[in-house]
């Protein structure tokens, strides 16, 4: 096998992984942008999205539905449920803490994360469950066949579409404008008539929806889930969000991709033993030279 081919394989492997990180990282970065909270329970929302999809797909499958119909129904339901969970979590664990000391919501988030993990563990199972492959299969042209699989192509394309959609939503709609206003200055936004509570809820809903899409895509791709998958994915996505500049939407996307590539190339050309070491070392390096992340704006300190 040629060197170039190997390079491309590693490159696309990183791209796939990075797309998933980016989808989850968007949830972190949006929430952070609006209320400056590291939402540690976000990884759990991703997991719940995947679990809901598994359950819905299981029920539909037992009714004898064809594959594409299952996908068409499962994905929206998973997205709706994950959003509902994100919305509810915000109302219970973060909203009462709006005016609390800065770190209190963080601890509340850690507690929520423990709670949700064990909720799934108790209500469903601790075991790994096989996840049906919902992604459409199609034949790829020969020259990419050995490098990419169809599910990887689907993941990358879906992620790109979703992110493009999100960017235009934030940029062009009224609600998007309200979100940007709230992110810049909550009090001022309130003064000019933005319903801040609504904006925050919407942020959680959108972030959760993206996480659920990521959850369904990756679970279909690797074919298994359990109650703990949210934790590692969450930490990595959070890293990606900070890498790109937390609070910045394009930053989260770029951060996800950079992290995915770093890990992939570290494994491919050095050793997977130190895959995470490379990821974190890159993070430290970037932050030392750009303390607000790759695309983050260094905000001036308020006196």
């Amino acid at each position: 096998m040629g060197r170039m081919e190997y390079f491309l394989e590693i490159f696309f492997g990183g791209l796939t992984r990075g797309s998933i990180y980016a989808l989850i990282a968007l949830g972190y970065t949006m929430v952070y942008g609006i209320i400056q909270l590291i939402n540690f329970a976000h990884g759990e929302i991703y997991m719940i999205g995947a679990f809901t999809a598994l359950i819905v797909a299981g029920v539909l499958g037992s009714l004898g539905m064809p594959g594409y119909a299952i996908l068409l129904l499962t994905l929206p339901i998973a997205v709706i449920y994950a959003s509902a969970y994100g919305f509810t979590v915000e109302k219970i664990a973060y909203k009462p803490l709006r005016s609390a000391p800065r770190l209190s919501p963080l601890i509340s988030a850690i507690g929520m994360s423990i709670f949700l993990q064990n909720y799934i563990l108790l209500a469903q199972t601790a075991d790994f469950l096989p996840f049906p492959n919902l992604l459409p299969y199609f034949d790829l042209p020969d020259f990419v066949g050995g490098i990419l699989t169809s599910s990887e192509v689907t993941i990358v394309i879906t992620a790109a579409l979703v992110m493009a959609g999100l960017t235009s939503f934030i940029k062009f709609t009224r609600m998007g404008k309200a979100m940007r206003a709230t992110a810049q200055n909550q009090r001022m936004a309130m003064l000019v008539g933005v319903n801040v509570d609504q904006v925050i809820s919407l942020t959680f809903i959108i972030g959760s929806a993206l996480a659920a899409i990521g959850g369904v895509l990756i679970a279909s791709h690797i074919g298994q889930i359990n109650f703990y998958i949210g934790f590692i994915a969450g930490i990595k996505a959070f890293t990606a969000a900070v890498l790109g500049g937390i609070g910045s939407v394009p930053g989260a996307m770029l951060g996800g991709l950079v992290l995915g590539w770093t890990e992939s190339f570290a494994t491919g050309y050095v050793s997977s033993d130190y895959e995470d070491v490379f990821a974190f070392a890159l993070l430290v390096l970037i932050l030392i030279f750009r303390p607000a992340g790759i695309l983050g704006k260094a905000d001036s300190q308020k006196v």
Binding site: Y32, Y81, A100, P101, I107, G111, Q117, L122, P132
Partner: protein, 421 residues
């Protein structure tokens, strides 16, 4: 009536929310589905009832907030007056000291053992309190220094046969050194960027311990680490545990003494000033980098010492004990107890470490209850169990003369400690 409607709506919402997870269980291989409708009813009824409790507590919280802003609670004041009385105060302190002193003889080995764990976490909490509570630097990788201490003892003992008492000061110095080493590049960062970088460092240290097998024995860990000895005396298991308890207790007392001194010293004040406003602080002529580094390395010192104690206590360590979750736990201790407050951190550690142990009675529901309690604690007491006293004193200007005694001695300490910064 309004309440009933709200509760009904909440119940319906949660029934919808938990429906797929609680009711359906699918087996995707055999394509069988189990429907557990009884769970739906359970969720509905319990959420309905809980929503009343929630609203009641919420309204109490609101009221409490309003009251606190203007006047202090009568009961609290009466209580305060009671314990301000010297005789009552000293007898309470004496009673507590006696209780702590005879603890191992009153309770089973299990109780003593988990109390040792709690004491170790008090040390860790107090150490992190310097970094997070006083200096306001969010550190999510505190466990790295804990690991450094634990591995220092385990490895030095393994290769050179050094004992607990020899390693303890060495680990403290090593901890401070590593703290400076890691602190130096990252202190330029602010707030949550610092948090993620420290998290990264924590993970890097754990991964190195895991992968560098020839040096650290990798994931299989190091076993047979000796407990501390007392002039070479041999006790049975019970004796060793009790002795361990007193050793850790002494270390905790030492920690409390030093941390309290530090807090009221010049450097302590600088930390708190830095936490409140960095720019004003620099304008006042405080060396930002040096002050931050001091906080970082002092915190690391205690973590490393706690690590030595931990290795001695469990007699076995492996990298799995030093995950990010551990850092999160220590941070929770500090925040839940009340940032900056020593007594708060002690209470936080006792609750967060002992609670899961006493929740063992709930068996499989242990961790879900623990998570829920963490959330509820924060929602209903966001400032932590005990608010740092300094903050309070703003409202009681009359008492502010008392704490000031500590300052002169504290200053000397700060200079002494400053020399390795």
């Amino acid at each position: 009536m309004q309440g009933l409607k709200k509760s009904l709506l909440t119940a319906v919402w949660f029934m919808f929310l938990t429906f797929p997870i609680m009711v359906i269980r699918v087996n995707t291989i055999e394509k069988t589905i189990v429907w557990r409708w009884e769970n739906l009813a359970l969720v509905g009824i319990s959420v309905f009832l809980l929503s009343y409790v929630w609203r009641f507590l919420m309204s109490r919280r609101e009221r409490g907030n309003k009251q606190n802003a203007f006047a202090t609670d009568d009961r609290a004041q009466a209580f305060r007056a009671l314990i301000e009385d010297r005789r009552i105060r000293y007898s309470l302190i004496a009673a507590f000291a006696i209780f702590v002193g005879v603890f191992p003889f009153l309770f089973s080995m299990y109780q003593v053992n988990i109390m040792i764990s709690a004491l170790i976490y008090i040390m860790l909490g107090l150490g992190l309190n310097i970094v997070v509570g006083l200096a306001g630097l969010l550190d999510l990788g505190f466990v790295a220094f804990y690991a450094v201490g634990a591995y220092a003892y385990a490895l030095l003992n393994l290769h050179f046969g050094l004992g607990f008492w020899a390693v303890l000061p060495m680990a403290a110095v090593l901890g401070a050194f590593v703290g400076i080493l890691l602190g130096f590049p990252v202190l330029r960062l602010r707030g949550d960027y610092l948090a993620i970088v420290t998290l990264g460092f924590g993970e890097i240290i754990r991964l190195v311990l895991e992968n560098w097998g020839t040096f650290t024995r990798g994931p299989s860990g190091i076993s047979n680490i000796p407990r501390p000895d007392l002039f070479g005396l041999e006790f049975g298991l019970q004796g060793r545990i009790i002795y361990m308890y007193y050793v850790v207790l002494a270390l905790v007392l030492f920690t409390i003494a030093v941390v309290t001194r530090l807090k009221y010293s010049r450097i302590g004040r600088a930390w708190m000033a830095l936490r409140e406003d960095e720019i004003a602080c620099q304008a006042m002529g405080i060396d930002k980098t040096q002050t931050k580094l001091m906080a970082f390395s002092l915190g690391a010192t205690w973590a490393a010492m706690a690590g030595v104690v931990f290795a001695a206590k469990t007699s076995f360590i492996n990298p799995a004990s030093f995950t990010f979750l551990e850092s999160a736990m220590i941070l929770s201790i500090v925040v839940l107890g009340g940032m900056g407050s020593t007594v708060g951190v002690i209470l936080g550690a006792l609750i967060l470490i002992l609670l899961p142990e006493y929740l063992r009675a709930f068996a499989e529901y242990r961790m879900i209850v623990f998570g829920a309690i963490m959330v509820l604690f924060m929602v209903f007491r966001p400032q932590g169990l005990i608010r740092d006293r300094r903050l309070k004193r703003r409202f009681h200007p009359a008492e502010s003369s008392k704490g000031a005694e500590a300052v002169p001695t504290g200053e000397g300490m700060a200079r002494g400690a400053g020399s390795h910064g």
